[in-house]
């Protein structure tokens, strides 16, 4: 069967330049956000509650007036264009199907606005509903649909007029986990099929990792880092990104040369830093991911390794394919280790263990 390939020419590039939005006094909701989104890209705006994701999306949609900055859609400046002229599809977190219209009438609404003739309208409505696997549901009322079905209709309605950009503000936020995962997969397929640019707001890191070509991590109204999921996970630029995406163990200390080796010296021990590290004497943070850590029972001779932390297993969490161990060190901090079951037999709650990692896996973060 031929697989539809992404026709990225059907999406539009989106450029944000120094977007500022201030509500009343105090810190701006969005502060100098710049973002270059390629045509046909799937980008997620990821960040904690109140970090400015919705505000940014609403600025692109035209629902709010920005105080400064430029917004370009497909090379056209739109910052002062009314929302109904921007030709952007949008799916909201809350269900926004029009309650007084049937499902088919809802999907036909944008086509009516564009004066599409009745016959073609009906055909396109049906095609859009079939695309979200709801071809049979055209005559229903929105309140006769489940939450997941309603959001699928909302997606059909937002793409039926072939916009070049689709905005989604936590569209699956109100749905349960299993349904959410199902819809994420469908959305990925849809993105591949349509080739349009999708800007997807979420505060769920897993969702962002599953869906996105790139992720923009929002923090306090600005973007901390933009990159592919792998880049963000493997090379977080700062502690916020490191902690927000995935789990991390972060150590704070001073860089020193110990026996000719550059190392991080902190209350928990001395850890060898990977090659291009910071200058001696500087205070830095370094991070190691739990799955890069290993545990072993403390040997009889308790060898004074670098890159090693001694501690006692305080908690053991079964995660199916792996275990998570929380190890409390003598300095009273808790280090998280994720291990595959076979590798560390014999370690359980109460065990005295040594946690180690390869020095290449210790990342310096701001």
């Amino acid at each position: 069967m031929p697989r539809p390939t992404a026709d990225r020419s059907r999406g539009a590039a989106v450029r944000l330049r120094g977007i500022v939005k201030q509500y009343g006094a105090g810190a701006p909701a969005v502060n100098a956000v710049s973002l270059d989104i390629a045509a046909g890209e799937f980008i997620s705006l990821l960040g904690p509650s109140g970090s400015g994701k919705t505000t940014t999306l609403n600025a692109i949609a035209g629902f709010i007036d920005i105080d400064a900055g430029e917004i370009e859609l497909g090379g056209v400046a739109v910052a002062s264009m009314r929302p109904h002229l921007r030709n952007i599809g949008m799916v909201f977190q809350h269900f926004t199907l029009f309650p007084h219209m049937t499902v088919a009438e809802n999907v036909a609404y944008p086509l009516r606005q564009r004066k599409v003739p009745a016959k073609e309208r009906a055909r396109r409505v049906q095609a859009a509903l079939e695309m979200v696997q709801l071809g049979e549901y055209g005559t229903r009322r929105p309140d006769q649909l489940s939450g997941g079905q309603q959001q699928r209709v909302a997606v059909a309605r937002a793409v039926v007029f072939e916009p070049r950009v689709l905005l989604m503000d936590e569209p699956f936020g109100a749905l349960d986990r299993k349904l959410r995962e199902e819809l994420q997969i469908q959305l990925k397929g849809l993105h591949r099929e349509l080739g349009i640019t999708i800007i997807f707001v979420t505060h769920d890191q897993e969702e962002a990792l599953v869906l996105s070509d790139r992720i923009a991590v929002f923090n306090n109204g600005s973007i901390d880092q933009i990159g592919t999921p792998a880049e963000l996970y493997d090379r977080p630029e700062n502690r916020f990104v490191a902690q927000f995406l995935g789990e991390s163990n972060i150590f704070e200390g001073t860089v020193r040369d110990v026996d000719g080796v550059r190392a991080l010296v902190c209350p928990d021990g001395r850890f060898v830093l990977p090659a291009p590290a910071a200058d001696p004497g500087t205070e830095i943070h370094a991070m190691v991911r739990p799955e890069k850590c290993r545990v072993a029972p403390v040997g009889p001779d308790g060898d004074g390794l670098t890159n090693a932390l001694e501690g006692e297993v305080e908690e053991e969490i079964f995660l199916g394919s792996s275990r998570k161990l929380l190890v409390r060190t003598p300095t009273d901090r808790v280090v998280t280790v994720r291990s595959t079951a076979a590798a560390d037999r014999g370690v359980s709650v109460g065990s005295k263990v040594v946690v180690t990692w390869d020095s290449a896996d210790l990342l310096v973060v701001r």
Binding site: N87, M90, T96, H100, D143, F161
Partner: protein
């Protein structure tokens, strides 16, 4: 479906309802009496008072006056009240609470005071005893009903629906026409019906504004009641009751359909 039916509550509701409604319902059998008296229950039945009602211009004219006034009042109050509600609910401006207070004031002002005031004013403007005078006075009295019902639905309406419509390409006037108004229509409809009834059975202001040239049916009834024993008044009362009840039922039906839809 509740597991246990609240029989006690049901009995309480039935008794309260009966106490409220039965005294009013007496007018129906009385309007069908054979005698020139208010004896209840009537011994013989007839339609003679209905004949009398519809052949006496004193009654038919005042009925038409009441109906015409109420229709115009309902239309004007609904339009004006709805527009005012959009201003109040959708915008912030200085003195907003004053405006809201003024709009609702006719509802809380003792109606006799409204009547006296309007009488004094309308005397000067030569509006006493005119259809225009009645209509203006009743519009003022009806607007609060519209403001309350319409603001109720407009405040609870999800504004994201309007954003969604805009994102789908609808300019503001189309959003209003195809999304906002249809969604708040039941509230507007209810406001219209309340405004109609508030004018149709309004008596106090009407007593002040009436003169031999122009009076409404409640005034005619009052006059007939104080001057003679004439069961035709029971016919008038029955007609008012019937019309008001039908309108209220209609609005209940509109709301109920809506409610059932929203909860299916």
């Amino acid at each position: 479906m509740p597991a246990r039916r609240p029989y006690g509550l049901a009995a309480f509701a039935v008794i309260t309802g009966a106490l409220l409604i039965l005294p009013g319902l007496i007018v129906f059998p009385m309007s069908l009496s054979d005698r020139r008296s208010f004896v209840f229950p009537p011994k013989e039945w007839s339609f003679r008072w209905y004949e009398n009602f519809f052949s006496d211009p004193g009654w038919t004219e005042t009925l038409m006056n009441s109906l015409q006034t109420a229709v115009v009042v309902a239309i004007v109050a609904t339009v004006a009240g709805t527009v005012a509600v959009f201003g109040i609910v959708r915008h912030n401006f200085r003195g907003k609470s004053v405006v809201v207070g003024l709009l609702l004031a006719p509802m809380v002002t003792p109606i006799i005071i409204l009547g006296v005031g309007e009488y004094a004013l309308f005397l000067r403007w030569q509006l006493v005893g005119t259809g225009l005078g009645f209509t203006l006075a009743h519009i003022v009295h009806a607007i609060p009903y519209v403001v309350l019902t319409v603001s109720g639905v407009l405040m609870t309406m999800d504004r994201q629906l309007e954003r969604a419509a805009a994102s789908l390409g609808a300019p503001p006037h189309k959003v209003l026409r195809t999304i906002t108004l249809p969604i708040i229509a039941p509230g507007i409809m209810a406001g219209f019906i309340f405004a109609f009834i508030s004018s149709f059975d309004e008596t106090v202001i009407a007593l002040f504004l009436s003169d031999p040239n122009f009076r409404t049916m409640p005034v005619q009834m009052y006059a007939s009641m104080t001057q003679e024993v004439d069961p035709t008044i029971a016919v008038g009362a029955s007609l008012i009751m019937l019309l008001s009840t039908l309108l209220i039922l209609l609005s209940a039906l509109v709301f109920r359909r809506r409610y059932a839809k929203a909860n299916r």
